[in-house]
Amino acid sequence: MDADRLSKLLGDLEGDRRNGADLGERLCDACVEVLDVSGAGIMLMADGQHRGTFGVSNAVINVVEELQFTLGEGPCIDAFNSAKPVLEPNLVTPASNRWPGFSGPAVKAGVRAVFGFPLRTGTASLGALDLYLDHPGDLDATQMTDAVVMAEVIANTVLALQGAAAPGTVAPELDAGLASRAVVHQASGMLSAQLDITVDDSLVRIRAHAYTSDRSVNEVSRDIVLRQLLLD
């Protein structure tokens, strides 16, 4: 990506930021265009956990995000924890079976290659950028460099949004992705009180149940909150 293109991209984003457009989605769309990939997603993370999705470019990447939220494994998780790009050019026959739960369903959804880039500022990690291809393949050198640049642009945008937020609150543009997960945390709270375990352990159990019953974490959580499901 040359300097002019980057300038234009930043200028467009600034305009979007000011008119409140769905910035997360636009950033993902920009990634798809600039990096020439099939889809992009932005994950916010804290404490090694997927906390919410800031934006997605299409339904397939939404599945990628959802799987990582449910399973706690995947390219974004690894990228966040290792603070390095994580590259899997062939998800059908990967070099190592590092995501046993994630790979199958992701391939079924149409993912053939997947890449995670950490969103970092200095030494602080904010989350990760997910990219996927609908055919196996590597990112070339230009795509790699540009992906790192996009990750930086996204990290700076996230911080700029947070900078404008009222103290102690999450910026509204970032909150949308968290609000959809509120039910999961409510369910964790309920379960932890029911079974006298920690909320972290509750979340593990909710995720396990979602995985074995082939439902989303959100669906299972909703049932718990509506008292239609009792886990032990």
Partner: protein, 241 residues
């Protein structure tokens, strides 16, 4: 390389180092002031940075002699430094004895302190000017153009270092604030779940209990929520009059 060239090279390397390593602004600017005296054969050097109020404040000087400090400090409104800061260009007076009209307060003070020339170089990156580097000469006469060019280059590298440091500090702070806000949001949702379970309520009712208790006891919502989640506070307590 001549000794001067060696010193110059070392100075640039030190400045570049600040971009990667831990950064102490005061140390850094003091070092820069000292080097300027050695490199350019001027009497003294000083650095002023603009504060949030837009006024210039003394940031570093090549010596702590009273006369030099005062000469820098009186430049909040008038003098070569404020001029360089405001205009973003090089400001110089090759013989302060020739006129006091330009800087009626600064000039007599400079002459008393034993300086005959003053040069101020803007500390600037593109459109942003953050301060100015002052060079004071004991003899009248211009600082040679070659020296001015080198001094400006040093000021430019210093400016980048300071701006990077500020940006990094601000980013770190914002990242921490975001993490804290994210965690707070989550713990409040978890607390709603705990209350809902323990008091057999729905989420809205649970939130009302939480909010009411926090208000009545003058506690932060997130603190009460955290106590409920780690079970150091029981939801039944929320209901007690």
């Amino acid at each position: 390389m001549t000794p001067r060239e060696t010193l110059l090279t070392e100075t640039f390397v030190s400045l570049a180092d600040t971009l990667v390593r831990d950064f102490d602004v005061v140390d850094f600017l003091s070092m820069l002031s000292d080097r300027c005296v050695d490199l350019f054969g001027v009497g003294e050097a000083g650095l002023m940075l603009a504060g949030g109020d837009g006024r210039m404040h003394l940031a570093a000087s090549s010596s702590h002699q009273m006369h030099l400090l005062e000469l820098l400090e009186i430049q909040h409104e008038e003098g070569p430094c404020p001029d360089a800061y405001r205009t973003g260009v090089l400001v110089r007076c090759d013989d302060l004895a020739e006129t006091t009209e330009r800087w009626p307060t600064f000039t007599p003070a400079a002459l008393t302190a034993g300086f005959r020339s003053a040069t101020a170089l803007p500390m600037r990156l593109r459109d942003e000017v953050i301060g100015a580097l002052n060079l004071f000469g004991v003899d009248p006469g211009p600082v040679p153009d070659a020296d001015v060019a080198v001094a400006q280059a040093l000021a430019d590298v210093a400016t980048i270092g300071i701006l990077q440091h500020r940006a990094a500090k601000e980013s770190r702070l914002l990242a921490e604030q975001l993490q804290y806000a994210l965690e707070s949001r989550i713990v409040v949702e978890q607390a709603k779940g705990v209350i809902a379970q323990q008091l057999d309520l729905d989420m809205d009712q649970a939130f009302n209990e939480l909010r009411r208790y926090s208000r009545d006891h003058n506690k932060r919502l997130v603190d009460v929520a955290a106590a409920l989640v780690d079970r150091s506070l029981d939801a039944a307590t929320l209901r007690r009059p």
